[in-house]
């Protein structure tokens, strides 16, 4: 029996610890191909490279595993993998991450990790993005192994509904032992910014964006609640941005 084909990408770049974790676990059950950015792409949202060229280089970073580093964004990586590297082959699962840092609640919109998974879903492939709520590039993550493996196996066994990508976030190891997995909705939260204004050595001003996370959600069925209570959160995400409930109201209220 042929092994399922698993495509791996991320946004922290091909040398990050998180992608090694996905490669190690995925190769136990699947044939693995890696196409990942050659440099960190955090905060890239669903960016693609238009009006510029892309590079793709074979990498031996994972030994025998077929791997490529790409000059583009995570979404570019998935497109190049599907339409060029793996042309004609059916991808059984796309996994992205493990991201070094949370992609829960509103962060899904800014997340390069999730853009790879959502691009996969747009292209009709079962896709999962994994993120660890710890920004340390050397973060300990062995505590997530059994959950990553379980989710990959379930995704391969049961599939994922068409048009859905899963956004999986893990509590950091410091939070103690994980209690289980919760299927959640995206919490109603946002990042509020302050800008730290400085002067460069030439007297010109520049800014650092300093973000402060604000959770407006008091529910217990959302990803922030799950993570705060030491569960793995899984949010099924779709890419229809339409606010369907707003259509009739606009038709009624607006004189157009």
């Amino acid at each position: 029996m042929t092994k399922p084909l698993i495509l791996i990408s991320n946004d922290d770049g091909i040398t990050s610890k998180g992608i090694r974790k996905l490669v190690e676990i995925s190769k136990k059950t699947g044939e693995v191909v890696v196409v990942a950015p050659d440099s960190p792409q955090s905060g890239m949202g669903h960016a693609i490279t238009v009006g510029d060229t892309l590079r793709l280089r074979r990498s031996d970073i994972f030994g025998d595993i077929e791997a490529y580093e790409c000059s583009g964004t995570p979404a570019d990586c998935v497109k190049l993998a599907k339409h060029y590297v793996l042309k004609q082959r059916k991808i059984d699962l796309i996994v992205s991450g493990v991201n070094h840092g949370s992609n829960s609640s509103i962060s899904v919109l800014y997340s390069g990790t999730m853009s790879a998974a959502i691009e996969g879903a747009i292209e009709g492939c079962p896709s999962v993005g994994f993120s660890l709520c710890d920004y340390d590039p050397n973060a300990e993550m062995d505590h997530i192994d059994e959950y990553v493996e379980k989710i990959i196996k379930e995704a391969l066994k049961n599939g994922i509904q068409k048009g859905i990508a899963l956004n999986v976030n893990f509590p950091p190891i410091q939070a103690g032992s994980i209690k289980g997995i919760k299927i959640c909705r995206q919490a109603n939260a946002l990042w509020e910014e302050q800008f730290d204004e400085r002067k460069d050595p030439y007297g010109r001003r520049y800014f650092w964006m300093v973000e402060n996370f604000v959770n407006h959600d008091s529910g217990e069925d959302n990803d922030e609640w799950a993570l705060a209570n030491n569960y793995v959160s899984i949010v099924p995400c779709q890419f229809d941005m339409t606010a369907h409930h707003a259509i009739s109201r606009l038709n009624k209220d607006w004189e157009i």
Copy 2:
């Protein structure tokens, strides 16, 4: 009576023709402040600048209008405008564009223009992104004036529901006279890529992404239909990516 405060941004950069159009029309009804990228940011999706600095420079490109060019993405521009440039002031409307090129259907995900509008909605401001279905940077766009003005006035008069940004697309002038405005859902369509492989002068391969738009939607209530039939399309967009219908099914099917 004080004029409403209108913040303008875009993704084609502060020198583009499309943003001039929004400035001209907005200043008739509002006090205008512009914060826009200093270079084109097309395809940037909802990218933000993390781990790097931002520049913001005053610009006199629009004469008396308070304007700034920013080194960051469209979402960065809105964040800097709200939390630094306009600190403490209530923004009555954010308008983004006019984009040189369509942002209908799935393109909303890749769109820098819409990321500025969606960022505005996340921050609680009524926000509208405008795009013209013509990629020519010198595209004729006087045929959209009355519609842009009407939409700005309606947004200021009726407001926009919390958490909603409007995605407005206009047919190109070549399509003939516009028939009116349709409130729509996002069409079920996608971009399918081919990669044009070339060799650089040093013998190393590189790629151009060549995109082909594929519309799978046969409905008449979506933005592609509206544009193809020469209507202005307005899709109300939200930023909850949760596929709510998929939660119960995952809970049922997955053994986790």
